[in-house]
């Protein structure tokens, strides 16, 4: 079985993003970029499935500009067998990303596709569900635990009410939650080895997909700030302050 993994590059989660004063975007020049944390988890899960003998090949997929190569090399260094770089200079909507994955699925015929539940830049939380719909296959979103056996995935999902377990026939789409696993660190020798692994480059324009761009971002703003409050010195003062506000 092959596993296709979404491996998106995003602004690192430690960066406190700034909105440009003219409202045309956020400042991304010189900002540290990293793999979407949920995608590192997706890749880790795929690698573990390969190590267990459930899968033979793990392919990382990145959709983005020409300079994505170094990022994809990190995925290869972590252990993916090969990478596919769908190249585009444009911003891609989740629907376009899903349509792109579908094209790759038609070619690669994976038994499993693992994506992050959300990318921490746009926080859209859509791509996996859209892909499953277009592919007409099961989706197991927000996965906290995955078991694969007998052509089925049994997935425990982190939902508002608690933990939901579902069973999905393969092929299927899984999206990862944070507690699914702890991604391994990349070791130096692996970075060397990754240099020999293949990266296929495909132009997004050559896939014949309708770019879904019916949603336009027209303005960026900084969020309303909460102002710094007061400090109290002990429990009694805290109770008094809360009583004064009518909260106790």
């Amino acid at each position: 079985m092959k596993i296709l993994v979404g491996y998106k590059r995003v602004v690192d989660y430690n960066v406190r993003i700034q909105v440009k004063p003219d409202g045309t975007g956020v400042v991304t020049d010189g900002v540290k970029l990293s793999a979407n944390p949920f995608d590192d988890i997706a890749l880790e899960e795929a690698l573990r499935l390969r190590e267990k003998g459930v899968a033979e090949e793990v392919i990382v997929v990145g959709i983005g500009p020409a300079d994505l190569t170094a990022h994809l090399r990190n995925g290869l260094a972590m252990g993916a067998n090969r990478a596919i770089h769908v190249q585009t200079a444009d911003a891609v909507s989740p629907l376009t990303a899903a349509r792109t994955f579908l094209k790759l699925i038609e070619k690669e015929q994976p038994g499993l596709v693992i994506l992050g539940k959300q990318a921490i830049d746009d926080d859209a939380n859509q791509t996996g569900q859209m892909l499953a719909a277009l592919w007409d296959r099961p989706q197991a979103t927000f996965a906290g635990k995955v078991e694969i056996a007998d052509g089925k995935a049994t997935v425990t999902r982190e939902v508002d009410a608690g933990l939901e377990t579902i069973e999905a026939d393969l092929p299927a789409v899984i999206t990862t939650d944070l507690r699914l696993n702890e991604p391994r660190f990349i070791k130096l020798p692996d970075i060397m080895k990754a240099k020999a692994k293949p990266i296929d480059v495909i132009e997004l324009g050559s896939l014949g997909i309708d770019a879904a761009d019916h949603i336009k971002t027209t303005h960026y703003a900084a969020p309303a700030k909460r102002s710094k409050g007061v400090m109290v010195k002990d429990a009694a003062e805290l109770v008094a302050a809360l009583k004064q506000k009518g909260l106790l």
């Binding site: 602004v11 989660y13 406190r16 956020v26 909507s93 989740p94 629907l95 899903a98 830049d121 926080d123 939380n125 859509q126 791509t127 569900q129 859209m130 499953a132 719909a133 007409d136 296959r137 099961p138 197991a140 979103t141 982190e158 939902v159 508002d160 009410a161 608690g162 933990l163 377990t165 579902i166 069973e167 999905a168 026939d169 299927a172 944070l178 507690r179 879904a212 019916h214 949603i215 336009k216 971002t217 027209t218 303005h219 960026y220 703003a221 900084a222 969020p223 909460r226 710094k228 409050g229 400090m231 010195k233 429990a235 805290l238 109770v239 302050a241 809360l242 506000k245 909260l247 106790l248």
Partner: protein, 312 residues
């Protein structure tokens, strides 16, 4: 004029309060009508609750055995079919809505507007990106159906004084059998629901252990609060996942939020930005949580919580 279809969220025969919040957002669009759709094996009780929500024009029920559990792969084709004639489809931005709405959107051939914070016009909305560190305005082209999830913390629940008619709907669509429900382990709790509670007390890594977390529960019970946690506390096994507050947990807007032994990472703060009053108790006076807290108290939580209880 807009016609809006709101997807009802429910569990165990009860309507989830997030539905009335999604209706509030629908009202803000100033549409011609707002219909709520209830998909269930036995929708009547839920439909009766939904019919009371102010602003609802009618409630549509789709009763099918396959709808016994909220499985996106099964519900989405029915909703996509029922959406014909509607300009907007709204769902709450809960794990239910986040799982389901994008699947509906893809079937309708549109992208989704996730986490709507405000309605600027029938096709214009504001939503957060980068864990709430930037707010964008998006415009959906007017020829497309608007599929959106509604950020529940940004919207009050619409009141329940109405009496909309309930109509049964037959949706003729084949449903897949490739995805099956196995079970749901629900955290049992008599405490107020985290997403609807007026007061929430949350514990973080500073609480130190699962046993120690009792001190948080005890204090919360004393003031009638729901209980939440940071990711670090959940990861360490102090409490179950459904208690996580933040970017990847629950986004909440209680009148009072008390962060106890929580440092205040941006991913946590995203979940509480809309709280009325934030109180922080932390032994580190430099902890970032104090930059946004309305009331801060530096000290050891194991000393302060008993004192607070005594002072009440």
């Amino acid at each position: 004029m807009s016609k809006i279809l709101v997807i009802a969220e429910h569990l165990d025969g009860k309507l989830n309060g997030a539905t009335a919040r999604a209706v509030s957002a629908a009202v803000a669009v100033k549409p011609e009508s707002i219909d709520v759709i209830v998909l269930s094996d036995a929708p009547d009780a839920v439909a009766a609750e939904a019919a009371k929500i102010d602003g609802v024009s009618k409630v549509l029920t789709v009763a099918r055995a396959e709808n016994a559990h909220a499985m996106a792969a099964i519900l989405a084709p029915q909703i996509a079919k029922a959406a014909a004639g509607y300009s907007h489809v709204f769902a709450p931005s809960t794990t239910f809505g986040k799982d389901l709405a994008p699947r509906v959107a893809a079937l309708l051939g549109v992208s989704q507007v996730s986490d709507v914070m405000s309605v600027e016009g029938a096709h214009s909305f504001r939503r957060p990106i980068y864990a709430g560190n930037a707010i964008i305005t998006v415009e959906v082209d007017t020829a497309s159906t608007v599929v959106a999830t509604i950020r529940t913390a940004s919207w009050p629940a619409a009141a329940s004084n109405g009496s909309a008619p309930v109509e049964a709907l037959t949706v003729d669509v084949a449903l897949p059998s490739h995805t099956r429900f196995v079970n749901l382990q629900q955290g049992k709790s008599d405490r107020p629901d985290l997403q609807g509670a007026a007061k929430v007390v949350s514990g973080g890594r500073g609480v130190g252990s699962k046993e120690n977390f009792d001190i948080i529960y005890k204090f919360a019970d004393k003031i009638g609060a729901g209980v939440g946690a940071s990711r670090a506390a959940v990861d360490a096994g102090y409490c179950p996942n459904e208690m996580q507050v933040g970017q990847t947990g629950k986004i909440i807007a209680p009148e009072l939020y008390m962060a106890i032994g929580i440092s205040g990472a941006i991913q946590h703060l995203t979940g509480i930005k809309d709280a009325g009053t934030i109180v922080a108790i932390n032994k580190d006076g430099e902890a970032p949580i104090f930059e946004i807290a309305d009331i801060g108290l530096v000290g050891d939580l194991f000393k302060i919580l008993p004192e607070l209880e005594a002072a009440l």
